[in-house]
């Protein structure tokens, strides 16, 4: 018998340490005279801002942390008291509520205010509305990086890349002014090289899920594995993290271990998780031996598994291409093709779509995707709804019924097909 399986051994431990240190550095930034930039995960330009010595705050990561630590509900209510509607994105409300209550994270960190709001508008129009609000509340300067939505299915067009590159160069001038430091070109390129290597390891980790059994869960685990790449990409710590996780995953492969005691069903998952009910949600799949072999949410900060890498030889262009290629900046034809490729390449039995009310960027079009996968592609598809931030939208009993019914039907189908 194999040794008891360690759910996220190295991956979890190191990640926790890294994030703890990250938050500590944020807290200390104002005291050290370091400038603080706020920015978004999707299409983030961490390497570039770090080349000006800036410390980075990702309000979405704060929202995720508050969600998983069960602090989001109270923050959301605080924002609703200020006039925010029950129908707008819970991440925004979490952040604004958090701010209104003094910016103390649930683990104690006191978040510093922004010196610069870098709105990397890649894939979500709410980003604009969010930082427009923060710029009013903090009185902070806001810069937009306008990343046009992709057209067609061939990826970014040259004029789109040119437009984004130009804005990145313009942003450098702003950062020089705000930090009083010149742009460290060489440092930026070095960071991109570290990113490139981390991205390569990340892709190997993700693609390990093509094996049977899959050594990882590409949703319930990968959403943790992805954090350093989204938050501190381009740092040696980040690369070290992926080396460790990669080694762990390869060891699982050697031992034939996977996240489930027995891998019964392989699923592809589209959509963000319900952070405030993350564990309970995961259990509903575990019961059925369902293992996620590919997911789109783990690509929310960047899509690397179709070959893209940051390139120190084309520092601005590759950054622009990265931003343009973000998952939610891809049109539905591209998203649908990507998911279909996942189902095929990872030999999945079914698609699970988790539609979250908060995030229209992710969710509008998912119901149509379900129709397409069921009718055109013949892929069994489960469509469930709740929210990624707002704990009030999770109907546990109903969720369980839907999931159970789906896997029962899937099992039945398999038995009859096998008979």
């Amino acid at each position: 018998m194999s040794e008891p399986y360690l759910h996220q051994g190295a991956g979890q431990r190191i990640q926790k340490d890294l994030l703890t240190r990250w938050y500590r550095q944020l807290e200390e930034a104002p005291g050290r005279g370091e400038k603080v930039a706020y920015l978004f995960i999707s299409g983030n330009i961490g390497e570039l801002l770090q080349a000006f010595g800036m410390r980075l705050v990702y309000p979405e990561v704060n929202a995720l942390q508050c969600g998983i630590k069960k602090a989001a509900g109270a923050n959301i209510l605080a924002a609703e008291d200020m006039g925010y509607s029950g129908d707008v994105c819970g991440y925004v409300k979490n952040d604004i509520g958090l701010m209104a209550k003094g910016n103390h994270m649930p683990h104690g960190t006191q978040l510093p205010p922004p010196d610069l709001l870098v709105c990397n508008y890649a894939g979500c129009a709410t980003y604009l509305r969010w930082f427009e609000a923060l710029s009013r509340y903090y009185g902070a300067e806001m810069v937009v990086l306008d990343v046009p939505y992709l057209q067609g299915t061939e990826g970014p067009a040259p004029e789109q890349v040119r437009y984004v590159v130009r804005q990145l160069e313009e942003l450098c001038r702003v950062c020089e002014r705000v930090t009083g430091r010149p742009f460290d070109h060489a440092g930026y390129r070095r960071a991109l090289e570290l990113s490139r290597r981390s991205e390569g390891l990340w892709v190997e980790i993700l693609q390990s899920a093509r094996r049977r059994p899959s050594p990882i869960d590409a949703y319930f685990e990968a959403v943790f594995f992805m954090a350093p790449l989204y938050v501190m990409r381009g740092t040696p710590e980040c690369l070290g993290y992926y080396e460790a996780v990669h080694a762990e995953v390869m060891e699982r492969v050697l031992r034939g271990l996977g996240p489930a005691a027995a891998e019964e069903v392989r699923i592809v998952v589209e959509g963000p998780p319900p952070w405030p009910h993350f564990r309970a949600f995961g259990e509903l799949f575990k019961r059925w031996g369902a293992v996620c072999v590919a997911s789109t949410y783990s690509k929310v900060g960047g899509v690397w598994d179709f070959g893209f890498r940051h390139d120190p030889g084309r520092p601005m262009e590759s950054m622009a291409e990265y931003m343009l290629g973000c998952y939610t900046n891809r049109n539905w034809a591209m998203r649908s093709r990507m998911i279909r490729d996942y189902v095929r390449d990872y030999q999945a039995d079914a698609l699970v779509i988790h539609s979250v009310k908060s995030c229209r960027s992710f969710s509008v079009g998912q119901a149509d995707l379900r129709e397409q996968f069921i009718r055109d592609f013949g892929v069994p598809t489960l469509f469930i709804e709740s929210d990624l931030a707002d704990p009030r939208y999770f109907a546990a009993a109903q969720m369980k019924n839907r999931i159970d019914a789906f896997f029962e039907a899937l099992e039945h189908r398999r038995v009859t097909a096998g008979a």
Binding site: Y121, T126, R136, P148, Q160, Q167, A333, D368
Partner: protein, 393 residues
């Protein structure tokens, strides 16, 4: 029915006909005519016209359309206009369109473009990205490229290349229309009882439903007839209506505001039709004029990023300029851009001491009684405080 009344009712019919009979007839009148629909808010209508297509404003289904087939494609937490527009498409009612245009106003509209492409593979479906970084030196070039790309795609369907002459002429036509709409709005500002809000809204919306040449003639005639219209001066409060830039409030709701003596003297109703706050500066190159207009002449709107403080300041300025006593936020249910904007505007109005009321609507709303009560209370409280102030001073 007087001539005036018949013009109003024709405008209303043009807006409420979800079978689009008049537009179908218009298209059949002459071979080679084309229609291209555009989803709100803004679309460069002159470019569509110059490309040989009549721009058709898609205002959703109003209270006429039951969302059944589209219900399986779009979740229930999405604004009515998106759902009912898709329903119109899925029930064949938009099959007279040669193309459809979506843009970057919000993620709902953006993603809807993809749903549309998949469900109507035979129809040209274009997506236009409006620059959101006006400070960038690259924004104008990028936008011009977008317009040229769109013109090329349209030409492939209509067979008409957009030349500078054609564009110049089309800008003239739509500039005329916007000037007429400004005059119409001025009537409402000066004497709200002369033109009901419902009538005003129907005229505004019908601009996206008619040949602009014919529509301009209608507006001219109306403006000539209005001063002699028999009407009684009515008392009430003057308000700016904000938040209805995309999905349009039901006509019944607009009537209720008038009835509650909340006179809307300025609004962002059908904002796309009134996108520019001033006549466009004209130079040698009509493409450049159109590009410059987007950056320099557009009314601040939450669907176009620019300094958000300026957006609230403009709302306050509009309220002052129109001698408004308050602001009514009239927001489509689930419309995120409007809902975000509300909170920032609200803070600005509170600072300025301008009273406001906030109401939400949906296309298929059944009852307006609670809005009536709120509007009545709102206008009464403003009148009451005004009297009190007078008594004190």
């Amino acid at each position: 029915m007087s001539r005036l009344e018949s013009l109003f009712s024709a405008a209303r019919a043009a807006v409420e006909d979800t079978e689009f009979r008049a537009l179908r007839a218009w298209k059949e009148e002459q071979p080679g005519r084309h229609c291209v629909g555009f989803f709100p808010v803004y679309a460069p209508q002159e470019l569509l016209w110059a490309a040989g297509a009549l721009p058709v404003a898609l205002w959703g289904g109003g209270d006429q359309v039951e969302v059944e087939r589209a219900d399986a494609r779009l979740q229930s937490f999405i604004c009515s206009i998106s759902r009912s527009t898709l329903e119109l498409g899925m029930t064949g009612r938009l099959d007279f369109l040669d193309g459809i245009l979506f843009s970057s106003l919000c993620d709902v509209a953006r993603n809807l473009s993809g749903v549309w492409q998949r469900n109507f593979p035979g129809m040209l479906c274009e997506y236009l990205h409006y620059p959101q970084n006006p400070a960038s030196g690259g924004a104008r070039d990028y936008y011009r490229g977008e317009l040229e790309r769109l013109a090329g795609r349209l030409a492939a369907v209509t067979g008409t290349e957009v030349t500078a002459e054609r564009l110049e002429h089309a800008i003239g036509l739509y500039e005329r229309q916007r000037a007429l709409l400004r005059s119409l709005a001025a009537v409402r500002t000066a004497e709200p009882w002369r033109l009901s809000l419902e009538e005003h809204a129907a005229l505004l919306r019908s601009c996206g439903r008619r040949d602009p040449r014919a529509q301009n003639a209608v507006l001219e005639e109306l403006l000539a007839l209005l001063p002699a219209r028999e009407c009684r001066r009515r008392d009430g409060v003057r308000v700016v209506l904000e938040g209805s830039f995309c999905e349009q409030p039901p006509m019944d709701l607009l009537r209720v505001l008038d009835e509650a003596h909340c006179f809307v003297v300025d609004s962002d109703l059908g904002r796309g039709m009134n996108w520019f706050r001033r006549p466009l500066a004209r130079g040698d190159d009509p493409w450049d004029d159109l590009v410059a207009a987007y950056f320099e002449s557009a009314e601040p709107s939450v669907v176009r990023h620019h300094d958000s403080a300026e957006r609230s300041a403009r709302l306050v300025e509009r309220a002052r300029a129109h001698r408004a006593d308050g602001v009514v936020f009239c927001t489509a249910k689930f419309c995120e851009p409007a809902l975000y904007d509300f909170v920032l505007h609200k803070a600005a109005l509170e600072r300025e001491g301008i009273p406001f009321l906030s109401v939400e609507f949906e296309e298929k709303m059944a009852s307006f009684e609670s809005i009536r009560t709120q509007a009545e209370t709102f206008s009464e409280s403003i009148l009451f405080f005004a009297e009190e102030k007078e008594a004190v001073s």
